[in-house]
Symmetry: C2
Subunit: 210 residues, 2 copies
């Protein structure tokens, strides 16, 4: 059976649910009866070692290596993305890692980091609606979407804020392996999946706020 | 400002979203504008050190100490609960820690561990609907609820499976600090909160399955 190699890229100040919502769904993909794939999840960071997310969440990571080629790269958002979006060394590492990845999924302001590499130029992408004005300012060449729970364009899938990453992960699974499998994972994890990627109740508020 | 001390009790084979869904909501409680409290989150385990959840999620923990008195104790579920429910040393540690905690929140099969201490005897509690027959067998003296997204009884709040812990955490926040604050946290994390603790779409399937 094929084994999907999934790398979760962490950094100081990542948002816990951005990472562990999709991790749960992608991990479940590998264990649910009838799945056509197994999954192997790895937690990586630029330097390796203990990385602390928001609220002090302490996760042990391995360093990213120059020949790392994950099937799926997951990039969460969080407060840590603000300084990293201007960190040339981090962005060069992400540019290289995302180029070598078969699929690249981001959650919340993780799309700002991916956008900073230039790989989203001309592509449809989205982000947390409360942070969208800042995210747009990071890279204006991206075709930023104001109303989307998640957006797929080529190998890139970007999601809206925090819990939207769960919907996105299920959407990606549906696209790769069929919607019935995604629905079964949602049922097993007792998650009310919003299957329509453009059903985004948080978009209108955002426009009013900004 | 009051600082809520929140201890998250981890163990080998904990389910990541069980822990990090509520962690996100409880953490956000400490940072959202207008919150009456700050929050401090700690990750603990019986022995301390690196603990691996499902899918290999590696979290660094501190050991539980005999005089640990958290304001809030959070106990996730996961495959690791099956052997631990029969582990006298672990259950004695949990019995003592839960007794000293001001509030005790469990997710999914975490309620089986808490039930094994006897502290839920005669109280309303729930768990993952797919695992409910096993959970009931761990402690028949509990007033187990077949249809509940989460159940509050005294200082104990138990939730249904995996993602239900997010709804429960917001429900607990609503009970302590008011529903408007809980709604604002849901909006900031772009989460469609199911506010009614007894709106449990996964209960009926469970009865059909069992």
């Amino acid at each position: 059976m094929e084994c999907l190699d999934i790398a979760v890229l962490l950094f100081g100040g990542f948002e816990p649910l951005d990472a562990f919502g999709p991790v749960e769904m992608l991990g479940y993909l590998g264990k649910i009866d009838g799945s056509p794939v197994e999954t192997r999840l790895r937690f990586v960071s630029q330097q390796g070692g203990l990385v602390r997310g928001s609220y002090g969440v302490p996760v042990q990571t391995l360093p990213v290596s120059g020949d790392d080629k994950p099937d799926v790269l997951l990039v969460p958002g969080g407060g840590g993305t603000r300084p990293l979006s201007k960190d040339a060394s981090f962005i060069a590492m992400l540019d290289s890692l995302a180029s070598r990845s078969e699929h690249c999924l981001t959650v919340c302001t993780g799309s700002a980091l991916l956008a900073a590499t230039g790989q989203l130029d001309g592509r449809r992408a989205t982000s947390n609606k409360r942070a969208l004005n800042w995210v747009k300012s990071v890279r204006t060449q991206v075709n930023w979407q104001n109303q989307a729970r998640w957006e797929s364009d080529g190998k890139y899938v970007t999601s809206s804020g925090v819990s939207a990453g769960i919907d996105m992960a299920l959407g990606w699974i549906a696209g790769q392996y069929g919607i019935e499998l995604a629905r079964r994972i949602a049922e097993h994890t007792e998650y009310r999946w919003a299957e329509d990627s453009h059903d985004d109740p948080f978009a209108v508020d955002s426009q009013q706020r900004q």
